[in-house]
């Protein structure tokens, strides 16, 4: 049976078909690229000279001690820092090859393409269903009955549907912390982002919820590109393809996760991943 299938299939034709069908086919291989990125808050330099590429469909972990600049870096990618007083940047961040600060870029569109999940669950003060479709409504992606469908699809995607299907119109604040975070993930996914930024997404969750979020992260690629800040080194090892190590405002080292954890080039990296430096 296997033989038959193999003989009948023209692998070239499949490859060309797949290329045709792939929505990302004509886009740059790197969804995000930073060029000589320097970040400042007022006179204080936060991050210096970050050159980095994020390949489409991968998971990158950002690790480093508190105050190393990794969260600021993450929040720069969807321009959440723009309005922080004193924030300045030099260099550039490219999203699909275009500067995120280019005058032609629409900030709201960038945020639709680059979603975000926060350290703690942050449901909005509205029903569970309205939470999932809040962004969809704001961007006018769907309306009326379609919203119910969107809500169900996204809640199923994060594995929350069975738990909440009978209380879609109730307050989200009665859900457990883990469920709330999954709800926020469903909400972020609902607007169809290309990139998802995760800022210590499981730091407020219990181990079981953490595991379900981590499993989800795996299933979201390669459709999405994930960039996750984490203090949980085990998590970085478990879920990420690549790891970036930040220390004192510098990107010290980056590479495939196994290499960074097992064969670090820099002593600081080795000390941090081995738990010798907080």
């Amino acid at each position: 049976m296997e033989e038959v299938v193999r003989r009948d299939v023209d692998s070239n034709r499949i490859a060309s078909l797949l290329t045709e069908l792939d929505p990302d086919a004509n886009r740059p291989a790197n969804v995000i690229e930073t060029n000589g990125l320097n970040l400042h808050f007022g006179p204080k330099a936060i991050l210096n000279g970050v050159n980095m590429t994020f390949a489409r469909g991968t998971i990158t972990a950002l690790i480093g001690p508190t105050g190393s600049g990794k969260s600021t870096f993450l929040r720069t990618i969807n321009r959440m820092n723009d309005r922080v007083s004193g924030f300045r940047h030099e260099g550039d961040v490219l999203l699909d090859g275009q500067s995120i600060w280019a005058p032609s870029q629409d900030l709201l569109a960038i945020r639709r393409r680059v979603g975000m999940l926060f350290q703690r669950p942050n449901p909005f003060p509205m029903s569970i269903k309205d939470n999932v479709v809040a962004g969809v409504k704001a961007h006018g992606i769907a309306k009326g009955k379609q919203l119910d469908v969107v809500a169900e699809i996204r809640l199923r995607e994060v594995g929350l549907w069975d738990a909440v299907k009978d209380r879609l119109n109730e307050s989200p604040y009665r859900l457990s912390g883990g469920q709330q975070q999954l709800l926020c993930l469903a909400r972020a996914l609902a607007v169809g982002p290309e990139v998802l930024l995760l800022d210590e997404p499981t730091s407020a969750l219990d181990p079981l919820s953490t595991e379900s979020v981590e499993n989800l992260m795996r299933t979201l690629t390669p459709a999405l590109t994930l960039i996750v800040v984490t203090h949980n080194l085990g998590q970085a090892r478990r879920v990420s393809d690549n790891t970036m190590f930040f220390y004192e405002g510098r990107l010290v080292e980056h590479g495939p996760t196994s290499q960074v954890f097992e064969h670090a080039r820099e002593t600081d990296t080795a000390r941090y991943v081995n738990g010798l430096m907080g």
Binding site: N78, M80, L107, L108, A109, I110, R111, R112, G115, M116, F118, Q119, R120, N122, P123, F124, P125, M126, S127, A134, G135, A138, H139, S171, Y173, C184, R187, A188, V191
Partner: protein, 355 residues
Amino acid sequence: MLTSNPATVDPIRRDTSSRRIGRFVRRHEEGVWRVSGRTASLLPVGALLFVVIVLAIKAWPAIKVNGFGFLTSTAWLPGNTYGGVEHVHGVMIPAGARYGAWPLIAGTLQTSAIAIIIALPISIGTAFALTERLPRWIAQPVGFFVEILAGIPSVLIGLWGVLVLGPFLAHDVYPIVANNVPNVPVLRYFAGSVGYGEGLLTSGLVLGLMIVPIIASTTRDLFLQVPPLPKEGAEALGMTDAEVARRVTIPWVRSGIIGATVLGLGRALGETIAVAMVSGSVLGAIAPNVYGTMTTIAATIVSQLDSAATDGTGFAVSTLAEAGLLLAVISIVVNLLARFIVGRSSRMSAPVGRS
């Protein structure tokens, strides 16, 4: 010091009365707290009951004579206070005295409604600007001025309303509005004679101005308590500032805003002197359009009390007490209604302290 003067009594041993009280309080701390706490908590209830009961007693003769017609009649005739008397339901009243409070009730509700309609959006906008938009060095002094405005005596605002705002509106604003409104329901009331600046709309505007600081400063404090994380979540989802405000910030504190609005509404319903100055103080008639002269329950009580005292039968004063009772009932009903709304709308709001 090793030596002590035997002439002075050891202050620690001396048993003064204040020490005895102190000891008693310490020994019975729980009980003292409980008793004083309960007494203090019952005081407001007692005060409210006392006011309502005294009003009811004073109003009783008027209630008997005026009957239910008091709520629907538009007459305001003190009768012949120097002539004969009549007896109605065993109450002595001046001959020909007839009272109806419908215009006062309507005026009270109309001016307060105008005040809220104007003040609520302005207040929320002000609070939003102060907390989210203006830089700190502007927001702080502006916020300070808003609070000062809350403390300006209403007689000054009334005076300004009569001398400045009313004439300005009647001369420069009302005619433009009145000449251009289409002849459709609701807006029809904005057409017609604009008068001299004393009347329903001017009263509503003055009241609105008076309650803006109350609602705005409370709402500002509420906005400051909204944790940043849900707002950031909404921003990160690609919502505009207006959407963040409408879908997250305002709903987060909705019950508090309703509470602040009720506070402002209570002020508007009961505001007396400023309305008495700018309403035109016309008794016995409902304003034909929004510019028409009128009066409210509170303004009537203050403007009529003097002449009511000349009624030897006491019936006019009793009627004013009945009007006051009516105002108290309206205020209480409005409060209860607001509580009901808060109860319904806080279903989705976050538990306190949640981020």
